[in-house]
Structure formats: C-alpha cells, structure tokens
Symmetry: C2
C-alpha cells in the first residue's frame, strides 16, 4: 500500500522548490503548490516569468548596492540628492521604508543583512567594503547608521562605526525612543529607558 503517491513527481518538485524560500515549511509549500495548480494557467506563467525576469534583470547598484535594473540606481544617479550624506540600512525593504517617509535627502547604502555569527553571517558577507570605498571616493561627510534596533543591528552599527570613524567623518546612529502614535502604557522598558536617556531639551 506504500508509495501510492509517488507518481505526483511534478507536485513534489514544486513543493521542494518552494520549501527553500525563507519561512516556508513543508505545509505552507504544499498549500501554495495546490493553489498554483488550481489557478488558471496564466497565473503560473506570470509567476514563473516574474521570477526569471527579476533574477535576470535585477542587479545591485554599483554605488549603494540596492537592487536596480540599471548599473547605477535612480537614487544614486539623482542630481539633487546629496552624495556626502549616506544612510546605511540592512535591506532594500528598509531603504524603501525611509523613501516612503520622505525625510531623507541624501543617498543610501544597503548592507544586505546584519552581522549574525549564529546565522553564519559574518562582516565579510555584508557590503561594508563597498561602503568604505565609497566614503573615500565620494568624500562622504556623514554616515547615518540605520540598521535595525536589534542585537544584530546594534552590533553591525557599532562594528561599522569603529571601522570607518576618522577625524573628518561624522558617524551617527538613528535615534531610539518612543514611536510616534504609540501608547506609553504598552511600550517595553528598554524603549522607555532609551527615550528617557535620549531626552531632548525643549
């Protein structure tokens, strides 16, 4: 009675391919596969095409390492954005969040991760060398470290700060504090502590 379902090789292949995505386990991969098979054929074609197209067309910007379809991305090639002010973020998604907020007029640098030895991510896997080269080449005046407020993000910020700090270069970390619109009652002690510590004179 065993090996009854061995003939569904194509389904198994799809499940295995989907399982390699981060955060997708066997059950989710199975559910997604069934969904793809049930959809009109057009959807499978669009999805497959988008995957190939994205993988083929997208490259990392030669300056900031963000994903782009051109050798240099539109932010780095924008004439009105300051080249001497660089905001360092962990991922393209973080960059997008800052862009959406529309408060930053400088350029970015995407590290593509944070230092996390337990996950096998060491400093040489991140785009730190590219940042150093860029600081020299573009005569950067200030580097804002906007990595996540996590142990890994903090470690990465500290590591980079020590590495790049010279007399001429200002290095800063984005502020910790209470998020706008939050309720103090529900905020954690660490955040409130930082908010008190970094209080601003009125």
């Amino acid at each position: 009675m065993e090996n009854q379902t061995i003939d569904i090789g194509a389904l198994e292949n799809l499940i295995q391919a989907l399982k390699q995505l981060p955060g997708i386990g066997e059950k989710t991969a199975t559910r997604l596969s069934h969904h793809i098979i049930r959809q009109p054929e057009m959807y499978a074609q669009t999805l497959a095409h988008s995957i190939l197209e994205a993988r083929e067309k997208l490259q990392t910007c030669a300056v900031c390492c963000n994903f782009t379809e051109t050798p240099i991305c539109s932010i780095c090639s924008h004439p009105q954005r300051k080249s001497d002010l660089v905001c360092v973020v962990e991922t393209p998604a973080d960059l997008a969040a800052f862009e959406k907020a529309r408060h930053f007029t400088g350029k970015y640098h995407v590290l593509h991760g944070s230092i996390s030895p337990l996950d096998g991510v060491h400093e040489n896997k991140l785009k730190i060398k590219e940042l150093q080269d860029r600081i020299k080449k573009d005569q950067v005046q200030e580097v804002i470290l906007a990595t996540n407020p996590t142990v890994e993000g903090d470690t990465t910020a500290l590591y980079i700060a020590r590495l790049i700090k010279t007399n001429g270069l200002k290095v800063s970390r984005i502020a910790y504090g209470i998020p706008v619109g939050s309720e103090i009652e529900y905020l954690d002690g660490a955040t409130l502590g930082k908010a008190l510590q970094n209080r601003v004179a009125l």
Copy 2:
C-alpha cells in the same frame, strides 16, 4: 524626490505575483523576492520550471479528483484497493495524511474545499457531483466523510450525507474524540464533550 524606486519594475512585478498566493502579504512577498534575487540563478530557474511543470502536468484524477500526472491516479487504479469504500476528504493534503497513517484500504474522493459561503465557496464549487456519479457507477457500499472538524467541514459532511443517503448506502463520519498522545488537562471542552458522548464499551 518621489518615484525614486520606479525603475525596479521587475522586482515590483515579482512581488505582485507572489502576493496573490494565499497567506502571502506585501511584506512576505518582498522578503521572498529579495531572497530569490540573491540566490544563484539556478534556483530561480528551478523554481520557475517547477511552477510551469506542475501546472502543466498535474490534472485531477477522473475518479477521485486528487492531483495526478496520469488520467487516473495510482490509488484509484490500484487493483487491491476497495472501490466500494470511499473516504471523502477536503484536500489532497488530507488524503496524504490518511495515506501516511496506512489504515485505510479503500479509495478517496477529494472535494477541493469545504462549503463556506462567507469565502464564496458554495456546494457547486466542490467535487460533490463527481462523488454522486461515482457512488452510482462504482456501486459504493460505504462513504466515510472525513472533512475537517470545523464548522465548514461539519456543514459539508452534513450536506453530503443528506444528499447521498439512500437505503443501500452506509454513510459515516470519522470519530471525534481525544487525539492519541494528547493530555486531557489541555484539551478543549468541545473535544472532551464529544469524547464522553462517543464513548466505546470495553
């Protein structure tokens, strides 16, 4: 300063395509896209190929409606499985779970869902007509309704039972009770109630 990231059309396309998968929102789709772009090109090709292959090759079995690469699946064409005993399940994943348990020697019928008017799934979207045809054609003696123990699953089971019940046909529902290996202390009241109600004489 707006529309700075418009040049990454291929990325946006991939995110939009992934977002259409069930349970995948904007953030997850973005994370998955970045992962796909960062992997070696081979992975994107394998994934795209598996999607197309699965969608192309897989069809529903003419008898039980499970996914298969042949017109009739290996379970339905197996000579030693009883054709007159049919276990009705909601999804191919449920079928796989029963097969893994290796306790069932009959054949299956996959409904591809459960009646859920709020989600727009009405009885005519499920493979119920196919089940009725099959009961007549294969002279089925017993139908075991193994839909999920949820409101939708129970409704579906009840609906099918009323529809197919005739004098000659036995219709049953899989048993509710305490799961093997569970701790009574942590089980919900509804399950314990059912377990008491359906107690078996020793």
